[in-house]
Every structure is written in C-alpha cells, then in structure tokens.
Symmetry: C2
Subunit: 238 residues, 2 copies
DNA sequence: CGGACCATTGATAATTGTCAAAATTCGTGG
DNA sequence: CCACGAATTTTGACAATTATCAATGGTCCG
C-alpha cells in the first residue's frame, strides 16, 4: 500500500528545491535537511491520511496530486484542496498536535517527502525564514479557500464551472493551436464534490458548453477549451 | 468616522494580554509593544478595510465584533469570518504586501489595536514564539473555514442553521434557567450571507424552529435556545 | 410618536437534486 | 491489438428545495 523508495531526484537536492518553503535555503542546508526526509510512494486511491488521524509529520508532495476532503455523516464528500507537486500539508497540527481535520487520497501515483513533526519544528527555530515562508503560504492557501467559499456560497453553478475550468487550465493546462488542453485531476464526481453540486449537474453543464462550442471533451480526463474568453465570462469577473 | 482613542485598559497591559498571539510574552515585553500600538475606534457600519485596499497594518480587535466579507460583481455578499475581541486580521498580507482579500465592517462599536506591518515583522523576528503562535492561530482559522466550506458545500440548509446556532451559542451565548440566550452578532440578512442562503429562508427556518418549540425569538437580535439537543440533531453530528 | 429599517409570510418560478436507464469510456487479460 | 466486463458518464423525467418578488407586519431609535 505505501512504499518507501529512494528518490534519485531528491538525492541531488532537486525535490526540495522546488518546494517554496525551502527555497531560501542554500545547498548545504538543503543537504542536511535531505537526510531527515522519509520518502513514500502511493498509488491511485490510497489514503495518505484519514480525517481524525493523529498527524505526526508534514507531507510535501513531490510528484502526482492528491485531494484533501471531508465527509459528512451521510457520506457526502466536500473536497477542500487539490494538492500537487510542491504543496504540503500537515503543518496545521504541528504545534497543537491535533488530529487531522481532513482525509487525503492519492489521485494517481504520488511520491511524497515526509518530515517528522519534531524535525520540522526544529527547522523552524533554526531557519526563521522558513516560518515566515509558511505564514506566507498559509495566507495564500487561506485566500484560495476564501475564494472557494465565496464561490460556493454566492455564485451560481455556471460561475463555479467557469472558475474551476480556469483554475485547472492554469494548473494543469497546456496550450495548443486549437486552444488549451486541460488534463483534469478529478473525475466528474470529484469536480462535483469540489463545487458542492451533483455529479449529473456537472455532466449537463459540460454538455451544454460543448453544444455552445466553448469546450470539447476529448475523453473523461481531458477537455479542450476552445473559447477561453467565454469561459471567463461564464466565471464572472472575480 | 475613525477615532484615535486612549485605552485605559490597554495602558495597564490588559488588552494585549487577552490576545493569544502575545500571551507568551512577559509584562516587560508587553509594555514595549504597547508603545507601538495605535488605537482606533469605529462605530456600527464603518468600514475598517475595503477588499483590494493595501494593508499596512495588523489589526487586533479589542472590543466589539466585525464581519469580514467578499462581494460579487452583482452585489451578493459572502461573509467569511465574524471576528471578536482577541481575533486579528491583516497578517495574510504581511510579507507579500498584497492587498486585502476581503472587506471588514464594524457590526457595532469596535475598538482596535493596530500594529504597522514593519513593527509586526520586527516582533516576529525578536520573539520567535509569536510566529509559532500565529501559525497555530492561522491553522485554527483555516480549520474553521474548512468546516464552513463543508457546511455550505454539502450540508442542507437545516444543518447549516443548526451549526450557526451552535457556533453563536458558544461565542455569544449565556445560560439561563430557560435555556441559552444568544445575542446575535448578525442580522437575518447577515446570517443568510454567512450561510450562503436567502434572507427569507433564514426567517422561514427560524419560524419553523419556533413552531416546533426548539427556539424562542425574543427580538431581532436575541433568541432563546429551548432545546439544545434538538439543535444539535438538526446540525447533524460534525 | 413617527419614520426608517428589518423581518416575516405567501405565492410562484427557477434551479438543481434524485432516481433510473442508456451510452460511453477504461483497463485488463487473452 | 482487440474484446469484454466494470466503471464512469451522460441523458431523461420528475420531485424537492430554495430563490425571488411582493406585500405586510414588527422593531428600533431619534
């Protein structure tokens, strides 16, 4: 289920390098930290953390992506974040030692770098810049969460669909002579659970966009954005 | 509109004392910080910060409460937080120097302690404990935001009404031989904008709860919870 | 006391959720 | 590489919920 592995890329400092919170450190310092890291590999569907589990380490995504979500008693799922390479989680409960407030599941093959809580704390005291970077990153994440909350709270379904397409285009899109191809990290159901709507509604809205010539669905995981301007209009000015 | 005032309570260190992020400092350090603080007073309806304004200071609520919210282009409002005494905001943009990502409005008479961004940064480097406290507090706030997101995303309106009553009971409630009296910080419209539903729906749900003998509305800003168990059942187990 | 503001109620319409079935896509094994 | 079964997605019909509009009633504060 979870596999320890030796990451060649990590050994030459590359993996940590692309993690923003460590970006201010020099090669020497990075090497020291490197020794503290435990690598793990997960495959699609593996659960990295269960909501309510004690968190004893900070997990940095090195490759692949994961969803962080909460379940209601009756089984409905709300996705809070989609984390990709360079993102981290588990820092919330770093000092209080509280249990995780969400579950985390691999959306495909995922490689992580794990630092124990204690080691991470020591780093914070040794390198004050890291603490500052973390506050900064938490601020960014909070801003994203606030935007999602606004989106679900007051914006209509068309707006939300538009917004998620723009978000995914920026994170998972590649340009092409026809438009932008997005490799979706989530299934239709995942998108629905991210936007707080029903799976079928996502299908219907996508079909409608396809009829209007705004997008073209290549397969279940890839869509081509033909008219980004109209997607932006759909999302509403943010 | 905004008044500078001299806070007797602050001068004997009490105001800072109840701010969690400064709680680890001793009296001497507190006194030094005290000198850096600028006090402001606002009255109901005053806007402390506009969404998009540059933020040059961290604001700590000393008395009263405020709402932090975002507006869509068509004027709909989503309330993100209700901050009360001891809470702070403006730290998100501390290092990046970014503009505020929400507006903040006084819900009644509000007194604040303001620290300039530069002064606050210096404090962080001088007292590493403060940085740790802030990361901790940001973690808490994020957890609250995640819960709100889940609530609006997947929980039905009854659940949300139950949840907000519990939240307000904890923060603004006082016990009584009949039950718990809540002094609501928000109007019906405010509650609606916090829960992502229409004003009229809040009225209807409250009326229904009153008919069922679960609550009793004393006036526009005070309700008496008669049966907390059934409120908890309404909210669903969290 | 009066006027402004806020809250409630009713009727209706619009949107989305739910359930069921068909169609498509995906992945595995031959 | 194809075929098959499983999983996912799409579509349709209908029901349920909530938003909206409009009018009335209540509350607060000078």
């Amino acid at each position: 289920m979870t596999v320890r592995y030796n990451c060649a890329k990590c050994n030459d400092s590359l993996c940590m390098h692309k993690v923003p919170i460590f970006s201010s450190l020099d090669k020497e310092d990075l090497k020291k930290i490197m020794g503290l890291i435990r690598h793990h590999e997960y495959k699609k569907g593996d659960i990295l953390v269960f909501d309510g589990d004690p968190m004893d380490s900070v997990v940095i995504i090195n490759e692949g992506s994961v969803k962080a979500y909460k379940n209601t008693a009756d089984g409905r799922e709300q996705i809070l974040y989609v984390f990709s390479a360079g993102d981290f989680f588990g820092e919330q409960n770093l000092f209080s030692g509280q249990a995780s407030t969400f579950s985390v599941e691999a959306l495909g093959t995922v490689k992580t770098c794990n630092l124990s809580r204690k080691q991470f704390q020591e780093l914070l005291y040794r390198f004050p810049d890291i603490a500052v970077k973390i506050i900064d990153e938490l601020g960014n994440r909070m801003t994203r969460l606030e935007n999602t909350l606004q989106s679900i709270g007051v914006r209509n379904v068309d707006n939300r669909i538009g917004s998620i397409l723009i978000e995914f285009a920026e994170k998972y899109g590649s340009n092409n002579d026809k438009g932008t191809i997005i490799h979706l990290p989530l299934s239709r159901e995942g998108i629905a659970n991210y936007l707080g709507i029903a799976r079928e509604t996502v299908s219907r809205k996508f079909s409608q966009l396809e009829n209007d010539g705004i997008i073209h669905s290549l397969n279940n995981r890839e869509i081509l954005i033909l008219d980004m301007d109209r997607i932006e209009a759909l999302a509403g000015i943010n």
